[in-house]
C-alpha cells in the first residue's frame, strides 16, 4: 500500500481568511447589537437557526415556569375578584352534609359545619389577596418614602429614620402584628392590613435606602444636578424610577410573605373574625378533625401553598430578569 502523502489525504484546510470572511458579517452583527443581550441571541438565531436553538430564546425570556406561576395566580385572583357574581354557594351557610368529601355538588367537599369548601376557599382568597397586596402597598408607601429620604439626604435624617426602622425590626414580626391587631377596636380587613403593613415597613425602607444610596451616587444624578434639576426632581425623575425596579420585584415576594402572615394571624384566630372565611381560619377549623378528614385543612393549605409558591417563583424570576438587564446597562 503506497503511503499516502499527508498533503493529498487531508482535507484542504480552509484558509484563515475564508474563516474570517464568513464570520465577519456575524461578528459585526453581534458587536452592533451587543448592548442588549436578548437582541444578540435573537440576531444569532436569525442568522443561523441551527446554531442557536429556539429554546435559548425562551431561556432568555421569563420561562414557562414563570407563566405557570402567573397563570395559577391569575386564576386565584380572578376567582377571588369575581366571587360575588360567580354562581358559588354561600360560604357562610351551613348544610346537613357535614364533612362530606368531594362531589359534583361540593367540589372540594364541606367543612365541619357543612359549608362548601370551594366557595370558602374562593371567598377566603379575597381576604388573603387583599391583605397581601394592600399591606405591601402600605409598606411601600411609607417605607419607600422613608427609605428614599434616608438614602438621598443622608446625614442626620438618615440616622433618625434608620434608627426607627431598627427599633421596628427588633420586634418579632408576628408579635408586633398581634399587638396591633389586639389593640385595635375591630378586626376588619383594614386593621389586618395596617398590622401587616407596619411590619412590612422596615425591610422595604432598608431595601429602598440601600438602592437609593447606590443610585444617588451615580453620575447621572450629578449630571442632572449639573443641568439645574432640583432635589425633588432628581428624586422623582432619576432616583425613584431606578429604585422602583428592584423594589417592585421584591414586593411580589413581599405579598407572598404577607399572605402567610395573614394566614398565621387567622390561624391564631386574630384575623377577620368568623364566619367570614379566610385561608388561615379554614386551616384552623379543620385542625380538630385532622386525623379523620384531613382535606378540610389540607385544601386551603394547598391553595395557600400554591399561591405563595407562585408568587415567590414569579417574583424571583422577575428579579432575575431585571437583574440581567441591569448588567446590560
Amino acid at each position: 500500500m503506497p503511503a499516502r502523502s499527508p498533503d493529498s489525504s487531508s482535507e484542504p484546510l480552509p484558509s484563515e481568511e475564508s474563516i474570517f470572511a464568513e464570520s465577519g458579517d456575524l461578528a459585526t452583527e453581534i458587536t452592533g447589537t451587543a448592548d442588549g443581550d436578548i437582541k444578540v441571541i435573537e440576531t444569532l438565531h436569525d442568522l443561523d437557526p441551527g446554531q442557536i436553538a429556539a429554546e435559548d430564546l425562551v431561556k432568555k425570556r421569563l420561562g414557562p415556569l414563570f407563566w405557570i406561576a402567573v397563570g395559577w395566580f391569575a386564576l386565584v385572583a380572578l376567582l377571588a375578584l369575581l366571587a360575588p357574581i360567580l354562581p358559588l354557594q354561600d360560604p357562610k351557610t351551613t348544610s346537613s352534609c357535614v364533612r362530606c368529601s368531594a362531589s359534583p355538588e361540593h367540589w372540594f367537599g364541606t367543612d365541619t359545619l357543612g359549608r362548601d369548601i370551594f366557595a370558602r376557599v374562593v371567598w377566603g382568597g379575597r381576604v388573603s389577596l387583599a391583605v397581601g397586596f394592600a399591606s405591601v402597598a402600605f409598606g411601600i408607601a411609607i417605607g419607600g418614602t422613608l427609605g428614599v429620604i434616608a438614602g438621598y439626604f443622608k446625614g442626620r435624617i438618615e440616622a433618625v429614620i434608620m434608627w426607627a426602622m431598627d427599633v421596628l425590626l427588633a420586634f418579632p414580626a408576628l408579635l408586633l402584628a398581634l399587638v396591633i391587631v389586639t389593640f385595635r377596636d375591630s378586626r376588619d380587613v383594614g386593621n389586618i392590613i395596617l398590622a401587616i403593613g407596619i411590619v412590612a415597613i422596615p425591610p422595604i425602607a432598608r431595601l429602598v435606602r440601600a438602592s437609593t444610596l447606590v443610585h444617588s451616587q451615580r453620575e447621572y444624578v450629578t449630571a442632572a444636578r449639573a443641568l439645574g434639576a432640583s432635589n425633588a426632581r432628581i428624586i422623582w425623575r432619576e432616583v425613584v424610577p431606578n429604585v422602583a425596579l428592584p423594589v417592585l420585584s421584591f414586593s411580589i415576594i413581599g405579598v407572598a410573605v404577607a399572605i402567610v402572615a395573614e394566614g398565621g394571624l387567622a390561624f391564631l384566630g386574630l384575623s377577620v373574625p368568623p364566619p367570614t372565611p379566610t385561608w388561615g381560619g379554614m386551616i384552623n377549623d379543620g385542625r380538630a378533625v385532622l386525623d379523620r378528614d384531613p382535606f378540610i385543612s389540607l385544601i386551603p393549605c394547598a391553595v395557600m401553598f400554591l399561591t405563595v409558591l407562585a408568587l415567590n417563583l414569579a417574583g424571583d424570576r422577575v428579579r432575575e430578569y431585571f437583574d440581567v438587564k441591569e448588567v446590560g446597562l
Binding site: 448592548d35 449630571a223 449639573a226 431606578n242 446597562l329
Partner: protein, 373 residues
C-alpha cells in the same frame, strides 16, 4: 430670572470684564477626612475668555476633576471647604446656594462627564433626558423641545436621530452615548462647557471623533470650554491655554503654543516625555515619571514635585517656589530651576553627574531608552 441679573450686572460692570467669562482667584477646595484635610485644590487662579478653550492637564489625583466640580459647585457641602473667588461674568459665584446655582447650571455652565455609561439615566428615554432641561430652563413646550432635541442629536452626529429619541441608553454604543451626553450638555446653550475627561472611557478610535465634535460645537456656539484630561496630546491642538496641575496646584499656565515651545516646569516636560511617540524605534521604553503623586494631607516642605523631579536641588526641598512669570507675558510656572534656562540645565547636569537628585531619586542620562532587541 437671575440669568438676566447676571448678564445685566456684567454689562454695567463695564468693558474690562467683557471678555473675561470666568476668573478663578486663589480657589481652594479641601476635603475633611478622618486622616486629615486633603488639599485637593490649593490656590488655583486662572482666567478664561469668552469662546476660548482651556486645557487642564495633570495625572490622576492632581485635582483637575475636583477643580472643575468645585468651579461648578457640584461637590457635596459636607466636609468640603471651598475658599477663594470664582467670578463668572463678573459675579462671584463661590457662595451661591444650590438654588442660586440652579439658574447657572445647565443654562450658563454645563458639564460632559467622563463615563457615558453612568452619566445617562438607564431608565429614561434619550429624548426625555434631552427635553427635560429644555422645558425646565428655556420654558419650551413639549413639541418645540422635541424638535430642538432632534436637531441637537443630528448636530452631534447621531444617525437616525428621530429613532434614537425613543431609545434607552443601553441601546446605544459608548461613543453614541457620549454624543448624547454632549447634546444634553449643549441643550440650553451654555456659555461655558466643562468636559471632564470626556474620552477616557471610550475606544481610541472614537476619542478623536468626540474631541473633534466638542471642538466643532465649541467654535460654532462661541462657547468657552474647559477640557480636563491627563493627556497633553489631547489638548495640544485643541486649546488656547493650558493649565498644568500638580498636587492641587498650578505647575504651569501658558498659551498652548508657548507651553509646547518653551515649557518651564519640569513636571510639564516629564508629562510630555511620558507620551509614546510614533517615530520612536520599537521597544523604546516609556519615560514614566518615577514615584507617586504627592500626599495632599501633609505636603512635604519645598516644591511638591521635588521628590520626583529630575532637576531637584537642595533648595527645592526647603523652599516652595512661588508662581513666576516667564519670558512671555501670561506664562506662569512654579520652579526654581526651570527647564531650558541656564540654571535648569546646570541643575540637570549636576544631577546626571551625581546619578541622583537632591531628593535621592536616581537619574539616568538621556537618551538611554532603546532596549536591546
Amino acid at each position: 430670572m437671575s440669568r438676566k441679573v447676571i448678564s445685566s450686572t456684567t454689562k454695567a460692570g463695564a468693558a474690562a470684564a467683557s471678555t473675561n467669562l470666568l476668573r478663578v482667584v486663589d480657589l481652594k477646595t479641601y476635603f475633611r477626612t478622618e486622616r486629615g484635610t486633603v488639599r485637593a485644590v490649593d490656590g488655583v487662579s486662572f482666567t478664561l475668555d469668552r469662546g476660548k478653550t482651556l486645557g487642564v492637564v495633570g495625572e490622576s489625583g492632581s485635582g483637575k476633576t475636583v477643580l472643575s466640580r468645585s468651579i461648578m459647585g457640584l461637590l457635596p457641602k459636607r466636609n468640603v471647604i471651598r475658599e477663594g473667588h470664582i467670578y463668572y461674568e463678573g459675579e462671584d459665584i463661590i457662595d451661591y446656594t444650590q438654588d442660586q446655582m440652579r439658574s447657572v447650571w445647565g443654562a450658563e455652565m454645563a458639564m460632559v462627564f467622563q463615563d457615558p455609561m453612568t452619566s445617562l439615566n438607564p431608565v429614561m428615554k434619550i429624548g426625555k433626558q434631552i427635553t427635560e432641561s429644555l422645558i425646565h430652563h428655556l420654558h419650551m413646550d413639549k413639541h418645540e423641545a422635541d424638535e430642538t432635541a432632534l436637531s441637537l442629536l443630528s448636530s452631534v452626529g447621531i444617525p437616525e436621530p428621530a429613532q434614537r429619541l425613543e431609545e434607552y441608553p443601553h441601546q446605544l454604543s459608548g461613543g453614541m452615548r457620549q454624543r448624547v451626553t454632549i447634546a444634553i450638555a449643549l441643550a440650553c446653550g451654555p456659555k461655558l462647557l466643562f468636559a471632564d475627561e470626556p474620552t477616557t472611557a471610550l475606544d481610541v478610535t472614537v476619542q478623536a471623533q468626540i474631541l473633534n465634535l466638542l471642538q466643532q460645537q465649541q467654535r460654532e456656539r462661541h462657547m468657552a470650554m474647559i477640557l480636563v484630561t491627563h493627556d497633553l496630546g489631547v489638548v495640544a491642538g485643541r486649546t488656547d491655554h493650558i493649565l498644568v496641575m500638580y498636587g492641587g496646584r498650578v505647575a504651569e499656565f501658558a498659551p498652548t503654543p508657548v507651553l509646547f515651545s518653551d515649557m518651564k516646569a519640569p513636571y510639564t516636560e516629564a508629562l510630555l516625555k511620558s507620551i509614546p511617540k510614533i517615530d520612536y524605534p520599537s521597544h523604546t521604553r516609556l519615560e514614566a515619571i518615577p514615584g507617586r503623586p504627592p500626599d495632599l494631607i501633609n505636603p512635604p516642605p519645598g516644591c511638591n514635585f521635588a521628590p520626583r523631579c529630575r532637576y531637584a536641588q537642595p533648595r527645592c526641598l526647603k523652599e516652595d517656589p512661588p508662581l513666576m512669570e516667564g519670558p512671555t507675558p501670561g506664562h506662569l510656572y512654579r520652579c526654581w530651576f526651570p527647564v531650558g534656562t541656564p540654571e535648569g540645565q546646570e541643575a540637570l547636569a549636576r544631577n546626571e553627574a551625581a546619578g541622583a537628585t537632591a531628593a535621592a531619586t536616581p537619574v539616568s542620562i538621556r537618551p538611554t531608552n532603546v532596549e536591546e532587541l
